[in-house]
C-alpha cells in the first residue's frame, strides 16, 4: 500500500521550507497543499488546533506539526540520506544550533526591518551577535560539519540565505557582510546553487513585494500597540 504524505504550507514560510527540503533530500514523494495563512481553512484548524499554523505534515493518518518536530519524524521514518548525525553529541550540537538560530536570529532579524531608532539599533546588534556565533560554528567547514553531515542544521538555518537578503533590501540594512561572515557567505553561495534548493525557492520579486507589505503592516501594528499603551498610561 502506497503511503500518502501531504504537506500543508505557505509559499514563503521558512518553517515550511524546512519540511519541503527534508522530504526532497530523502526523495519522499508528497502532495503540497498551499494554505492561506491570513484566512485559515477549516482543514488547517482541524489538523493543527493547538497552534493553527503551517507546516503540517500528514503521513497516512498521522498528523505532525512544529517544523523541528516534523524534521525529526521525517529523519526517523525515512532513514535514507540522514538529516542528523549518528553521534549523540553531534546530534545535540545540531539541535542546539537550530534552536539558537530560531530564537536569537530570526526574531531579531525580522525586528530589524520594522523597528526604528534605538530599537532598530538594538535589534541589529543582537542579530549580528547571533550571526557571529553561527559563523563560529561554520568556520573551516564548507557545509555545517563537512560533507553534509549536518543536513538538519543546513535545512534549519537555510532560510537565512533567501530571507535575509530580502529583508536587507526592504529595510536598507546589511546583515550578511561577506567580510564579517566569510564562512556563512561561502555556505550561502553553495546552498543557493544546490539544484534541490533552487527549484523550491519563490521568485525574488514575489518575495520583495510580499515582505514590503508585511514590513509595512508590522510597522502599523507596532504603532497601534504604542498608542494603546499610551492610552492605558493616561
Amino acid at each position: 500500500m502506497a503511503t500518502k504524505v501531504k504537506v500543508l504550507g505557505f509559499w514563503c514560510s521558512p518553517f515550511v521550507f524546512r519540511v519541503v527540503w527534508a522530504l526532497k533530500l530523502k526523495g519522499v514523494e508528497f502532495e503540497y497543499i498551499e494554505e492561506d495563512v491570513f484566512n485559515k481553512s477549516t482543514r488547517l484548524l482541524e489538523l493543527n488546533p493547538v497552534h493553527k499554523k503551517v507546516p503540517v505534515l500528514v503521513h497516512d493518518d498521522k498528523v505532525i506539526v512544529e517544523s523541528f518536530v516534523i524534521l525529526e519524524y521525517i529523519d526517523e521514518t525515512w532513514p535514507q540520506d540522514p538529516l542528523l548525525p549518528q553521534d549523540p553529541y553531534e546530534k545535540a550540537t545540531a539541535r542546539f544550533w537550530a534552536k539558537f538560530a530560531d530564537e536569537k536570529l530570526m526574531q531579531t532579524a525580522c525586528k530589524s526591518t520594522w523597528t526604528k531608532g534605538e530599537e532598530k539599533e538594538d535589534a541589529l546588534k543582537a542579530t549580528m551577535e547571533a550571526l557571529e556565533k553561527i559563523e563560529g560554528e561554520l568556520k573551516g567547514k564548507s557545509y555545517f560539519g563537512g560533507e553534509n553531515k549536518y543536513a538538519y542544521l543546513e535545512i534549519a538555518i537555510g532560510w537565512i540565505n533567501y530571507l535575509l537578503p530580502i529583508w536587507e533590501e526592504i529595510a536598507s540594512i546589511q546583515f550578511l557582510d561577506p567580510k564579517r561572515f566569510p564562512a556563512i557567505t561561502a555556505w550561502k553561495s553553495k546552498f543557493l546553487d544546490n539544484p534541490l534548493i533552487k527549484e523550491t525557492l519563490p521568485p525574488r520579486e514575489k518575495l520583495l513585494i510580499y515582505f514590503h507589505e508585511r514590513v509595512k503592516q508590522w510597522e502599523i501594528d507596532a504603532t497601534i500597540r504604542e498608542l494603546a499603551e499610551t492610552k492605558l498610561e493616561n
Binding site: V50, E66, V69, I70, Y73, E76, P88, Y89, K104, K133
Partner: protein
Amino acid sequence: KCKTLTMAEEVKLYGTWSSPFSRRIELALKLKGVPFEYIEEDLSNKSPELLKYNPAHKKIPVLVHNSKPIAESQVILEYIDEIWNNNPILPQDPYQRAMARFWGKFIDEKVLATRMKANFAEGKERELVTEEFFQQMEFLENELNGKDFFGGETIGFVDIVAIVVAIWFPLTQEVLGVDTFTEEKFPVLFKWIRKITEIDVVNECRPPREKHLAYVKARIEDLKSASK
C-alpha cells in the same frame, strides 16, 4: 559527588536548586541511575566554567559529559536518553516520539510564557491571557485523559518537562494568592499532579518547599518593586 564514577566516564551538571529546567535534568539522570557531580551556580556570579561551557546563552542547565558540554534542557534530555538507554524517557515509535516532542515544546514555549503573563498582567489584558492559559491547560488535560501519566503507565519525556506545572505552578499561585489553576477546572491534571508527586525520585529532585516558597516570594517582591 559519586565515588562510582570511573576515570573513563565523567558527568557533571551545572544548575540551580530553584530552576525547573535544571531539576528536570537531575530527575532524568536519577531515573537512569547515572552518577553525576552537581555544581550549584550562583547566577549573579556565573562561574568561568559555565561561561566556557555555554557561551551562546550563559545559562543553566549545562550537562558536561566527558568534557563535552550540552545546553538547552530538552536537548540535554534527548542526549541523556540516547547515551543511557535504560528506563527510556522517549518512546520508540517515531510518531509517539513526535507527539512527546510536540507537547514538550508546547509546555516550554507556550504554556510557561502565558502563565507568566497571566500572573502579572492587569485589567483586560489579564482577562484575555488567563483565558488563553485555560485553553492551553485544556489541551494538556485532554492529552492526559485516560492515562496515569503523559508517558502512559510510567513517567516519560512530557511528564519530566511538565513537572514545572505540577510543582512550580501551584507554588507560585499560593504566593500570589490567585486561584486560576484549580482542581475544579482541571481535575485530570490535578490527579496527575498527585500521582507524579508521590514518586520518590520526583520528590528527591524538587526544591525543598519552605526554601522554595521564600525564594518565590522574594522574586515576586523584586518584580513588583522593579515595575514601580
